[in-house]
């Protein structure tokens, strides 16, 4: 057994009162491929940010616990400290300069300078940055790194125009070119790759590990994890669930660990309802494609019955958020859509709103609210624009009716504010969300899209919002399509829950289905495959 390289010891972290990591301890060994798994919000990225000394950690009061490298306590206060300690990371957004060659990118700010007489003179006169670069040596180093990855591409090719899969390799080449690299973190490296590229990457990972470098492999693809990793660590809700040798476990077990049993909001009113096949279809979606960056939808079809609460779940970045955004025309989309049996053209937000659809966006501050305007203006905005309500005879905004309506909404939804004139930017997350909902309800919709309605809000507001959605569905027969990363929440009020992975819908489950089923689906494994794998 190889020796321990990196240890996380009793790591805890709180972001403004919200504990995101609770006493997490595990270790990484030399030359192993260590898979790190967890749902969104499980704490994966926080623990990696701690490892890298990212400013976001230190500007929010640091963390508790210790990091040990080679059995010595280390302080990582900045990414540069991390770099010096031999920790490398390949980001999901590529940190490559497109107009530079591969070699220039590999040697970015670690360029090799020539040591000749002219350089000695100019650098002593004008400072050390006036030395010319030794491109030959830079290219040679880049070549060496690329060879380790079995990449045959010329090192002097421009990154611009490289297939996206290659960019990942260039980033890895940059990391392994750094002297003294000990730990390499790969964050969802296969997400952007084609199948053959992904296989190539996995074999390259084995090569790197064979050099004695430890790899932390963050992925949601359970099959890849079982294929390539030596050990897996699973985090859930900021807690360390287990670290296990991969050969002692299986896909089904990992999925179950990952999703876990969360003590959360109880189902408010019993079971998910069964809608019979003959009941009216409120929304029919066929072959939906949506070009939402980081949330692409690649061919999804489903029907939602009138009055149903349809939940859409899945991991972040897999495309679940793209569905509502595409249907509402926020991002380019194509597909066949019927609302109450009527065909609707995509990309026409006005028409969708006019047909009685309303949308509460996941991006509260960007899309959901005008944060520098008052609560009342926010609440009536869409209704005024689409249905020309709240205007007086001259076509001017009618202050009186606006205020009256806003006050009513504030009372009904229990929006905590100083007055209806308060800017929404000053409200807490939960109250902002209530304003968003109030705006949607002011449109008197028949179909309501709500995305991440409870993200970043306190428990009380969470319960209120979920109860409200349930009430709207049960009492007014509103059709609700709710998208959320919180599986427990989805299960608590939905009649059916669809799981999206890599832009496709893996399956639809009743809310009381077993957790391992949900877990497998979130990793993109359909039920039948899961049984085989176990």
């Amino acid at each position: 057994m190889s020796r321990t390289l990196l240890e996380f010891k009793n790591i805890s972290k709180t972001y403004s009162g919200n504990q995101v990591l609770k006493d997490v301890s595990f270790d990484i060994r030399e030359g192993e491929i260590h898979a790190l798994l967890g749902e969104n919000g499980a704490g994966k990225s926080t623990i990696m940010n701690i490892l890298f000394g990212m400013p976001v950690i230190h500007s929010t009061g640091g963390f508790e616990g210790e990091l040990h490298i080679d059995e010595k306590k280390v302080d990582v206060n900045s990414p540069f400290d991390a770099m010096a300690l031999g920790i490398g990371m390949v980001h999901q957004e590529f940190m490559l300069i497109p107009g530079f060659t591969i070699a220039e990118n590999v040697k970015l700010n670690r360029e090799i300078e020539k040591n000749n007489i002219i350089n000695t003179i100019t650098s002593s006169l004008f400072g050390k940055r006036m030395k010319t670069l030794d491109r030959k040596a830079m290219n040679r180093d880049a070549r060496k790194a690329l060879d380790k990855l079995d990449m045959s591409i010329e090192e002097f090719t421009l990154v611009q125009g490289l297939p996206i899969g290659y960019m990942q390799f260039v980033e890895i080449a940059r990391e392994i070119d750094k002297k003294g690299l000990k730990v390499l973190v790969l964050d969802e490296p296969t997400a952007v790759l084609t199948e053959s590229e992904a296989e190539h990457l996995l074999s390259a990972m084995r090569n790197i590990a064979a050099l004695g470098i430890a790899i932390v492999f963050i992925s949601h693809r359970l099959n890849e994890i079982t294929a390539v990793s030596d050990r897996v660590t699973i985090l859930r809700d900021g807690e360390h669930v287990i670290t296990k040798d991969t050969k002692d476990t299986n896909v089904l077990e990992i999925a179950e660990y990952m999703v876990g049993r969360k003590v959360s909001i109880d189902r408010t009113s019993g079971e998910g309802r069964q809608f019979d096949d003959n009941s009216d279809i409120a929304l029919s979606v066929k072959d939906l494609y949506v070009a939402m960056p980081n949330e692409q939808v690649k061919g999804i079809s489903f029907d939602v019955r009138k009055g149903e609460i349809f939940g859409i779940g899945g991991l972040a970045g897999q495309g679940k958020l793209g569905i509502a955004n595409g249907l509402m025309g926020i991002y380019e989309a194509k597909g066949d859509i019927l609302i109450n049996g009527q065909k609707v053209a995509l990309g026409k937000t006005r028409q969708m709103l006019g047909m009685g659809a309303a949308f509460v966006s996941e991006d509260r501050k960007g899309v959901g609210l005008l944060i520098e305007e008052s609560i009342e203006d926010n609440i009536v905005f869409t209704a005024m624009n689409i249905h020309s309500e709240f205007l007086n005879a001259l076509g001017l905004a009618n202050k009186h009716t606006i205020r009256e309506h806003a006050r009513k909404m504030i009372k009904e939804l229990d929006i905590r504010c100083t007055s209806e004139k308060q800017h929404t930017g000053r409200l807490s997350g939960g109250n902002q969300q209530k304003v968003c909902l109030a705006r949607a309800l002011t449109q008197k919709p028949s179909i309501l899209f709500v995305s991440e309605p409870t993200r970043g809000i306190d428990i009380g507001a969470k319960k209120l919002i979920l109860d409200l959605l349930l009430k709207l569905s049960r009492e007014q027969g509103m059709t609700i399509i709710m998208t959320s990363s919180e599986l427990a929440e989805l299960c608590s009020i939905s009649d059916r829950v669809a799981i999206v992975c890599e832009g496709e819908m893996v399956g639809i489950l009743p809310p009381d289905a077993s957790l391992s089923k949900f877990g497998l689906m979130m990793s993109g494994i359909k039920e039948a495959e899961g049984e085989v794998a176990s």
Partner: protein, 358 residues
């Protein structure tokens, strides 16, 4: 004792609430007025000349409100609107229309031509979203230059409009030939406590301001404001972002066109050729002085800003002439104008950059 302290604090915090640009120029303005009175200029005369420049510049300053509100930023291409207004006046004058009829017809034609020009300008601004301010000034400059050729070659043969020698329109067409000089300024003009009030001009300014204020309370106006605040929000609410921006720029350009008509009567000349080239900058500085930012402007900002900024320039010349003997005072005032005007714009740009960072 303690009451007094709190009073002081609240007064200070009130001052602090006034935007920096307004405070700085406001103090400068007050200082110049006091100096003026000290060196012996009558107070009424000083206020009169402030009011005069306010009257001719207010509508040109107002043109920035819709473009800022729509997120296009201050209208650095103001010369496009001005050229439209000049063309309107030239065409009406060529038909030898005089007096009030000239004012009426050229205002209407200015609105029409300004809207048309604004439509194309708005489309251009949509094509360069995010860098509007970098492109707009050159658009304005280029249009001004190309209209130099237009003024030279327009087939107009009204003797009072042409060069004395050779072809082409004059650099300055005097409006007194057409009974239209100071036509608004002289309407109901009265004097009170030594202050000359050019009532007609002020009425037009306040009507324009009121119309703008009302417009931003209509559905379309509210939509335009939302587009400027958050294009994604507007889009999600079913608003056509590009269309709203075009409407805003049409209004902005049309208002600038009307503004130059008022300006021309206020000075008694229709000034052509290079004249509009650098008109955007004082107008923008004006609205910024009034407390507007690159992303937010209200009609109130126009009134305060045009009065303070243009007033300052109006006062500086007579006051400095007494203070700085033996100096090229015109030159000094012009350099001060350059410093204040562009300093204010730079300050606003820095605030915008800071806002973008957050």
């Amino acid at each position: 004792m303690s009451e007094k302290v709190t009073e002081n604090v609240s007064f200070l915090s009130l001052i602090r609430k006034i935007p920096f640009s307004t405070r700085a120029v406001g103090l400068f303005y007050i200082a110049v007025v006091i100096t003026g009175v000290v060196v012996g200029w009558p107070f009424g005369m000083l206020i009169s000349s402030s009011l005069h420049l306010f009257g001719v510049w207010a509508i040109l300053t107002l043109a920035n409100v819709p473009s800022i509100q729509s997120g296009t930023g201050p209208n650095f291409a103001l010369p496009i609107g001005i050229v439209s207004g000049l063309l309107a006046m030239v065409l009406i004058l060529a038909m030898n229309v005089m007096g009030w009829m000239f004012m009426l017809l050229s205002t209407i034609l200015a609105i029409i031509l300004g809207s048309i020009a604004g439509f194309f300008y708005g489309r251009l601004m949509n094509a360069v979203k995010g860098s509007e301010m970098a492109i707009a000034p050159y658009t304005g400059f280029a249009i001004t230059a190309i209209f130099g050729l237009v003024w030279l070659t327009l087939p107009i043969d009204h003797p009072n409009m042409l060069f004395f020698l050779g072809d082409g329109l004059r650099h300055q067409i005097p409006l007194d030939y057409f009974n239209a000089n100071f036509i608004l300024a002289n309407l109901l003009q009265f004097e009170i406590a030594g202050v000359t009030v050019r009532t007609g001009e002020l009425i037009v300014v306040f009507v324009a301001c009121a119309l703008m204020w009302l417009f931003f309370r209509t559905k379309t106006g509210i939509a335009i404001s939302a587009v400027g605040r958050s294009p994604m929000f507007a889009k999600a609410a079913g608003i056509n972002v590009n269309r709203s921006r075009i409407i805003a720029n049409m209004i902005s350009t049309a208002v600038a066109a009307v503004g130059i008509v008022v300006y021309a009567q206020g000075f008694g000349f229709v000034q052509l050729y290079d004249f509009p080239m650098f008109f955007a900058f004082p107008a923008i500085a004006g609205i910024l002085v009034g407390g507007a930012s690159g992303q937010r402007a209200r009609v109130m900002n126009v009134i305060v800003g045009a009065f303070l900024f243009q007033g300052l320039l109006a006062l500086a010349l007579p006051v400095f002439t007494r203070v700085l003997a033996d100096t090229d005072v015109g030159g000094v005032v012009n350099q001060i104008r350059m410093i204040v005007q562009n300093g204010i714009i730079l300050y606003a740009l820095a605030l915008m950059a800071r806002g973008a960072k957050q």
